[in-house]
């Protein structure tokens, strides 16, 4: 009897329409429960410091006392600060090296994506530079650029290209390009991996169809490879911009932003202003400008790639 009652109750329950609202609410609570720790961390470590940084840029900050409201004075100072303009210009040049690195990486990727013998070895060799510690890269390149005993001067002089050694890192003209070259060398392997993954995801039958239609290799590259590589190129571009913006260690190790700020980047200048000159408030204002620039450039990059992070072609 008891069993029958239970069976009826079960039957009634199963024939009852599901409690959609309650299930949905439970799912939502669960969703937020999982998201909340990450969001809290994101808010505490990203959003809050950013907001505090913006506030700080309008203050006269004292490490040991009360801060005073300073209005836009730091931003006004920035307009008259020659080093800021040099650093900004250098940063833009540094960012401009990202596309150069991507183009080079694309060439390398196309080469190692062919059926060439020993391609895995080539891939490894090209990628090897990326996992190296940036400080070590800086020190190695610093020695290679040395005026008296550096490899570059030795090679250039041996080939008769120059007759006097070039003081690469002690020169106002060469310091920044020298650091840029080291930077491109280091990140090339990383770009290559991204682009190689992109290349390998392009279906071969597209090329076969194009070949049947009589498309040349050049046409295949511009009509198939390049459009379908857009998401990868966009990813490399965004990462390139971000790493250029934060490329502190390489510059600091190789030139410290010198000589006379000729290889200064915004990020190295911000560090110096904040922690060597203890002008934390002014450094905050510089950071706001750098952040704004980063947002604009990323937005621009997104727009250039079709406004959908380059993903439209694959959609």
């Amino acid at each position: 009897m008891q069993t029958d009652k239970a069976a009826v109750a079960n039957l009634t329950a199963s024939s009852r329409p599901p409690r959609v609202g309650s299930k949905r609410r439970r799912e939502l609570i669960l969703l937020w429960a999982f998201l909340l720790p990450s969001l809290v961390i994101f808010f505490l470590y990203r959003v809050l410091p950013l907001l505090w940084n913006v506030l700080l840029s309008f203050e006269q900050f004292s490490l040991f006392g009360a801060s005073k409201w300073n209005g836009v004075d730091h931003y006004r100072d920035m307009l008259e600060d020659d080093v800021f303009w040099t650093a900004l210009w250098n940063t833009l040049i540094y960012i401009a090296s990202a596309p150069l690195g991507i183009v080079l990486a694309l060439v390398v990727s196309l080469m190692v994506n062919t059926e060439v013998r020993g391609r895995n070895l080539y891939r490894t060799v090209v990628f090897l530079s990326y996992p190296l510690m940036t400080v070590a890269v800086g020190i190695i390149w610093r020695w290679m650029y040395d005026e008296k005993v550096g490899l570059f001067n030795f090679v250039l002089r041996s080939l008769g290209i120059i007759d006097k050694p070039l003081p690469f890192l002690q020169s106002f003209e060469w310091a920044l390009p020298s650091v840029l070259l080291a930077n491109v060398w280091q990140i090339l392997g990383f770009y290559m991996i991204i682009l190689l993954a992109g290349l390998q995801s392009i279906p071969q039958n597209l090329y076969e169809a194009a070949a049947i239609d009589g498309a040349s290799k050049r046409q295949q590259f511009f009509r198939i490879t390049l459009p379908l590589l857009r998401p990868s190129i966009f990813l490399a571009f965004v990462i390139g911009i971000m790493t250029s913006f934060t490329s502190f260690d390489l510059v600091y190790v190789m030139t410290q932003g010198g000589p006379s700020h000729s290889s200064e980047l915004l990020v190295t200048y911000i560090y110096k202003v904040a922690f060597e000159l203890s002008k934390i408030d002014y450094a905050a204002a510089l950071t706001v400008v750098q952040f704004a620039l980063l947002v604009v450039l990323t937005w621009l990059g997104n727009r250039l790639s079709g406004g959908d992070a380059g993903a439209r072609e694959t959609g």
């Binding site: 669960l30 040991f64 008296k148 106002f172 030139t255 006379s260 203890s278």
Partner: protein
């Protein structure tokens, strides 16, 4: 059971566990121990000694737990300033360069003058010139930890090959010697430039950076232009290596260790780095002397007490212990550096003269001519003044501007910083 239900149950269980742990952790602890922390700057190799200090202090003050922290060069200010903002600065800090001045001027360090008046023996322990180096507005904010100042290392073999003997006696002779020794990979002269270690080369020529009242720039003079022009021409000719104006520590010292540099103007710790890399180095091939005129720039480290310390009295007690004759001697012996403590420096040098005469000869220069320390100005914005000046020096010595133009351009920049 659906996946959602399962996850829901797990989440509830996990939340309860976290809550229980949190409650357990927040149970009041009965301990009433005082906590003292001291922060050192890039000297982690002395961990063993610092632990001994901590153990020794525990014997005197069992109610105090001492914690030691060490941060590498660029990390130090970042870490300390972050801790200050968080309201938890280390009680004791070991700092150098111009940072302590900024901290002291902004009210971040404890004025030790009354403490030293109370414990007069502490003041008497130290070389007065080195102690004065840590003074701002006639108040002492730091005690010496270890001392160093610049001197001239020279390669006797290169001197001999160039037909020279003995260290140079004047700036002109130094430049002349440098020119004679420069050839191919060989460079006549190199200097370290961080922390303004290069400044004695100006000072020995009577060039002053600022007026006596420290209110205005005083360097734009015909003599300063002449000195800068000489250095620029020597740099262009290769007798002064360009790295002197851009490199930091490793390259100039490494180049001297490779036997490619005739004279190196560096501070005393460089000697041990160089010796470690230069098998050729011995009393016959290597010399150490004062720069002409005896001028030098100190690059010393000191101990200060944070104003935000909860136990400044305990911090002072700890500092008294670690700067006494016994503890400074222990540190000197292990680190092969002098400490500014008169008695222990003498004992160290006496001992070292027998065991390692060459190192003793180098270190002896550190307690000589201490009345001729230069390159630091007791200004709250000392580092900003230097930052306004040095890039223009680089412009001149590396050939972007003439000496006259560089000094002319530097003058308003320095005055602007001074006027703020």
């Amino acid at each position: 059971m659906s996946t959602v239900k399962c996850l829901w149950r797990s989440t509830r269980l996990f939340s309860l566990a976290v809550l229980a742990l949190g409650l357990a952790a927040s149970t009041p602890v009965a301990a009433q121990q005082k906590k003292l922390s001291f922060l050192t700057w890039n000297i982690a190799d002395q961990e063993e000694l610092f632990k001994e200090w901590i153990a020794d202090f525990k014997k005197i003050r069992p109610d105090v737990d001492v914690e030691w922290l060490d941060k590498k060069g660029p990390e130090f200010p970042t870490y300390y300033q972050t801790q200050v903002i968080a309201g938890t600065p280390p009680d004791i800090i070991n700092t150098q360069g111009g940072l302590w001045l900024e901290y002291a001027a902004a009210g971040g360090l404890v004025d030790m003058t009354p403490l030293m008046a109370k414990d007069a023996d502490v003041r008497q322990r130290f070389n007065a010139d080195y102690l004065a180096n840590w003074s701002y507005e006639k108040k002492n904010f730091m005690l010496p930890f270890y001392i160093s100042k610049t001197l001239l290392f020279y390669n006797k073999t290169m001197f001999k090959e160039a037909g020279l003997s003995g260290p140079p006696q004047s700036f002109e002779q130094m430049m002349e010697f440098a020119a004679k020794m420069s050839k191919g990979e060989k460079t006549g002269l190199m200097t370290l430039n961080f922390d303004w270690l290069y400044w004695p080369m100006f000072k020995m020529n009577g060039v002053e950076l600022l007026t006596a009242d420290l209110k205005k720039a005083a360097f734009n003079t015909p003599k300063a232009i002449q000195v800068l022009d000489t250095l620029a021409k020597a740099t262009a000719a290769g007798s002064v290596n360009k790295i002197s104006w851009t490199g930091r520590w490793v390259e100039p010292n490494g180049a001297f260790a490779a036997g490619n540099v005739g004279m190196l103007h560096a501070h005393s710790p460089a000697f041990f780095f160089i010796r470690g890399q230069a098998p050729w180095l011995n009393a016959e091939t290597f010399g150490a002397a004062h720069l002409p005129g005896g001028w030098s720039t100190p690059s010393s480290h000191g101990w200060g007490i944070s104003k935000g310390s909860k136990h400044p009295d305990v911090a002072w007690e700890f500092l008294k212990m670690i700067t006494n004759d016994r503890n400074t001697a222990r540190f000197s012996e292990r680190r092969k550096v002098l400490t500014g403590n008169i008695a222990s420096d003498k004992a160290t040098l006496d001992k070292m003269s027998k065991a390692d005469p060459l190192a003793a000869a180098v270190l002896r220069t550190q307690i000589e001519q201490t009345d001729k320390l230069t390159g630091n100005w007791p200004l709250a914005n000392d580092s900003r003044v230097k930052e306004a000046f040095y890039p223009e020096i680089q412009n001149a010595v590396l050939g972007r501007k003439t000496a006259a133009d560089a000094l002319r351009d530097a003058e308003p920049k320095v005055n602007k910083v001074l006027s703020r």
